[in-house]
């Protein structure tokens, strides 16, 4: 029974993967066409003629209709060939393999910080709603959401990297190379990314907890004579876990997007800088490859979250 439940869930998700990936890559492919600039002119160099530019268009298939170009890319991608960058000649898979770990370390650290700081703040605020502590948490949360990530990143660099020199100002180190150095490099960018995450987690934790604590069954639990501590930690927190999972899933998606700016401030060779360079140069194989990877990450993560939902709350599957 349990096995078939998982396989059903997995099957349903896998059916979704294809259309989502195709739609996302198609939209991005179309958007890349709108970016100003002409790739063929960039590839032709300084000393060139119109004929040579036309030849370059032909060599790279840039003269073919839009749908044919997309179809060719898709067909190759389905067969596992993500092609090479038109600008650098590097294999798209290699580029992604080199950069994805750097981004994952930063985003992963940011998520851990968001949860570790956000949940206690939310709990603290919900214990006595309307208290000074609650007000303080609300102010922190509002600031976290309002402050732009790039600004916070620059302030963090100026303070903790330049003045106190506690953390490096830029770059990244692979986890496999030296995990301590890797985390030290990821600390400041992760903090910059986590600011809005902490805020969101704290607010959602607070409101979900308040809702649970004011529900009828909690009143019943109190009526049965259970101590507040037990009601709070055992019943309250367990019931907000589904909300927290949802917030977590949304945060991952958002942080993968927000990392673009933070990577630029900290000169981290990650997925963000890869896609920015590629998009400004109209290097569509790279843009598409990065897109596809991001879509895959989001889909796999959502799948994991779905599985966890059903584990935490069996009603989800029955619905």
């Amino acid at each position: 029974m349990q096995g078939s439940r998982w396989s059903r869930l997995l099957g349903r998700r896998l059916v979704q993967v294809g259309p989502v990936a195709i739609l996302a890559t198609f939209v991005v492919f179309a958007l890349v066409q709108l970016i100003p600039g002409d790739l063929a002119i960039a590839l032709a160099g300084e000393h060139t003629t119109e004929e040579r530019i036309a030849e370059i268009r032909r060599i790279h298939g840039l003269d073919r209709p839009f749908l044919v170009q997309y179809g060719t890319w898709l067909w190759d991608a389905v067969r596992g060939d993500l092609s090479v960058s038109l600008l650098t000649g590097e294999s798209v898979l290699t580029s992604i393999a080199q950069r994805l770990p750097n981004t994952l370390v930063v985003v992963g650290s940011a998520l851990v910080i968001s949860m570790l700081v956000g949940i206690p703040l939310g709990i603290a605020a919900s214990i006595r709603p309307g208290s000074r502590l609650d007000g303080f948490v609300t102010v922190i949360a509002s600031l976290g959401i309002a402050l732009p990530g790039f600004w916070l990143a620059m302030i963090l660099v100026a303070t903790f990297a330049m003045t106190f020199q506690w953390f490096p100002a830029s770059g990244s180190v692979a986890l496999t190379e030296d995990w301590r150095a890797s985390l030290r490099h990821a600390a400041l960018p992760a903090m910059a990314l986590a600011a809005s995450g902490i805020a969101e987690v704290a607010r959602q934790t607070r409101s979900a907890l308040l809702e649970v604590l004011s529900s009828q069954y909690v009143r019943t639990l109190y009526a049965k004579g259970l101590p507040q501590r037990l009601v709070f930690w055992k019943h309250g927190l367990k019931n907000i876990s589904v909300t927290l999972l949802t917030v977590f899933g949304l945060l991952v998606n958002r942080m993968l997007g927000a990392t673009v700016v933070v990577e630029a401030v900290f000169a981290i060779p990650g997925m963000g800088s890869l896609i920015v360079n590629a998009a400004t140069g109209k290097d569509f194989p790279v843009v598409q490859g990065v897109m596809l990877t991001m879509v895959a990450i989001v889909i796999v993560l959502n799948l994991l979250i779905d599985i966890l939902y059903t584990a935490l709350d069996p009603r989800v599957d029955r619905r």
């Binding site: 000393h47 003629t49 530019i53």
Partner: protein, 526 residues
């Protein structure tokens, strides 16, 4: 006469070198250097160490034929030797992989190759390898240097160490073509093995071989143990870190994380002076200039184009945008170059009144509106502000449309939008190449797609047809004067080179190309 002028040109550069040395010495005297200048000169070069270099960009390709950016050369020089080398002081040809050459007649070039040279993969760099490379330059679909090889009709192996090129017509530029990308020799074995991915691996016969290239991050080179020349590859290796932001780049050298950074902005000069690093500066071939589209009004009128020169205050432009570091110019060639024309000095002096008169004579008594395509980076926008203000005083109203650097060519030269464009032109070693690229009817850079002035094409042809040094100089001057008189473009100033390096780096010299070369550079013991 010819020899004397050459010496003149050389001594001017030598003076530049002396200035550079004395500058280093001066800094030492000021206490900012650890060593006195005499010590710098007295120390014997030593082998060993890895030079850590900061570069603003990574190469567009390590295949010399497929690359497309002037910055690539900094990465190509260590890995590739070219058939003809260039004297970096005068930009004249000197022996490279070809130890000698001759023109038995005006359409035949015989190259005698240096024997015993091998590529990094052990493949001999013999006549067959050279023929293979030149055929590839001439006809491979990925070759961006095809246009430079246009005058080569056939390439034949005429001896184990001899290659003979037949030209379709006399072409004295061919030597400089073979000193640039087209003459950089790759291992045929490596090209065949790598196919279209050759641009990532680069196997040449240069003093260092490329070991790894981590995209947008790092390129690592190590010494080619079988390199033919002594005392060139003194360094065990080179490590390029790609850091696009120049301030970050300089910071890493100040902090001792790297040894050398190039392509700095003039605004960083005070920081270098305070930091105790060695500063290197010089003029380059790269020029900031205003491109004009003279196929449509108002620039189809020569008087309007001349007004564009008179309205301009080049000294002020240099002072405001580069703190006076950039050399103002009315011709693209810097003073040290053999083709520099002294008679053009002092022409087109700032004269707003004359500019207004010329506009009125051309039928624009109320001035003109000019649509200019510019670049949207901060430095270019600052230049644009200065230009707008200067031209306004002569009734020339510039309206800038600022676009990303990679879009400027597409807009102004491709779609041929606007009347003018402001950008930097990286320049070419041979003036004939430079003028062909700028003014040839079929050249993409020539947005007008027409002959700019009567006799210009004939003059450009004539300059390619003569081989004698003095005759060439005269022919080049003729082109320059036509271009100058007809005001086909508006040169503003030569882009200055500004580099900074740690005290350990010795033996580095700036060059007119503005592209650092690390041949003969060494690291003092720390």
């Amino acid at each position: 006469m010819s020899e004397k002028k050459m010496v003149d040109a050389g001594s001017r550069v030598a003076l530049g070198r002396r200035q550079w040395i004395s500058m280093v010495g001066g800094m030492a005297a000021a206490g900012s250097l650890g060593l006195a200048s005499g010590d710098v000169l007295a120390q014997a070069p030593r082998r060993g160490g890895v030079l850590r270099i900061v570069a603003p960009l990574q190469p567009t390709s390590m295949d010399p034929y497929a690359g497309r950016h002037g910055n690539d050369h900094v990465y190509l020089f260590p890995a590739f030797d070219s058939l003809i080398d260039v004297d970096l002081d005068t930009l004249e040809p000197k022996p490279g992989l070809a130890q000698s050459w001759s023109f038995p007649d005006s359409t035949t070039l015989v190259l005698n190759l240096r024997p015993g040279v091998v590529f990094h993969d052990g493949t001999p760099c013999d006549a067959e390898a050279v023929r293979y490379n030149l055929e590839r330059a001439k006809s491979h679909e990925r070759s961006n240097v095809k246009i430079d090889m246009k005058s080569v009709d056939s390439i034949a192996v005429t001896g184990p160490s001899q290659v003979t090129l037949k030209l379709t017509k006399p072409d004295s530029v061919i030597l400089m073509t073979l000193a640039d990308r087209a003459g950089m020799m790759s291992s045929p074995t490596a090209i065949k093995a790598a196919g279209n991915e050759y641009g990532r691996v680069a196997v040449g016969a240069g003093p260092w071989r490329l070991v790894s290239w981590k995209d947008n991050e790092k390129l690592v080179y190590e010494r080619h143990p079988q390199y033919w020349a002594k005392d060139v590859a003194l360094l065990d290796g080179l490590e390029f870190s790609v850091i696009p932001e120049v301030n970050t780049g300089l910071r890493t050298v100040v902090a001792g994380q790297n040894d050398f950074v190039y392509g700095l902005a003039p605004q960083q000069k005070p920081i270098i002076e305070r930091s105790g690093l060695q500063m290197v500066q010089g003029s380059t071939l790269a020029t900031w200039q205003i491109y004009l589209n003279y196929s449509k009004p108002p620039f189809d009128n020569v008087k309007v184009r001349q007004a564009m020169h008179y309205a301009l205050d080049r000294d002020e432009f240099s002072r405001l945008t580069t703190a006076g570091m950039a050399e103002p110019t009315t011709q693209t060639l810097p003073r040290g170059h053999w083709g520099y024309d002294k008679t053009l000095e002092g022409t087109y002096k700032h004269d707003p009144k004359r500019a207004r008169e010329l506009l009125a004579e051309a039928g624009y008594p109320n001035g003109i509106d000019v649509e200019v395509i510019g670049r949207n980076d901060q430095r270019s926008q600052q230049q644009a502000e200065v230009l707008i203000e200067q031209y306004r005083k002569s009734g020339i109203r510039l309206k800038f449309m600022n676009v990303p650097a990679n879009e400027l060519g597409a807009k102004f030269m491709g779609e041929r939008i606007g009347n003018a464009a402001v950008s930097v032109y990286t320049g070419r070693v041979d003036p004939s190449q430079l003028y062909s690229i700028m003014f040839d009817k079929s050249s993409f850079i020539n947005a007008s797609r027409m002959e700019g002035a009567p006799g210009l094409e004939a003059a450009m042809e004539a300059a390619r047809a003569v081989y004698d040094k003095e005759a060439r100089r005269q022919a080049v001057w003729k082109i320059q004067r036509i271009v100058h008189e007809h005001a086909l473009y508006v040169p503003l100033a030569l882009q200055p080179e500004l580099d900074a390096m740690s005290q350990r780096v010795k033996g580095f010299k700036p060059n007119l190309l503005g592209k650092p070369r690390f041949h003969g550079v060494w690291l003092a013991a720390s």
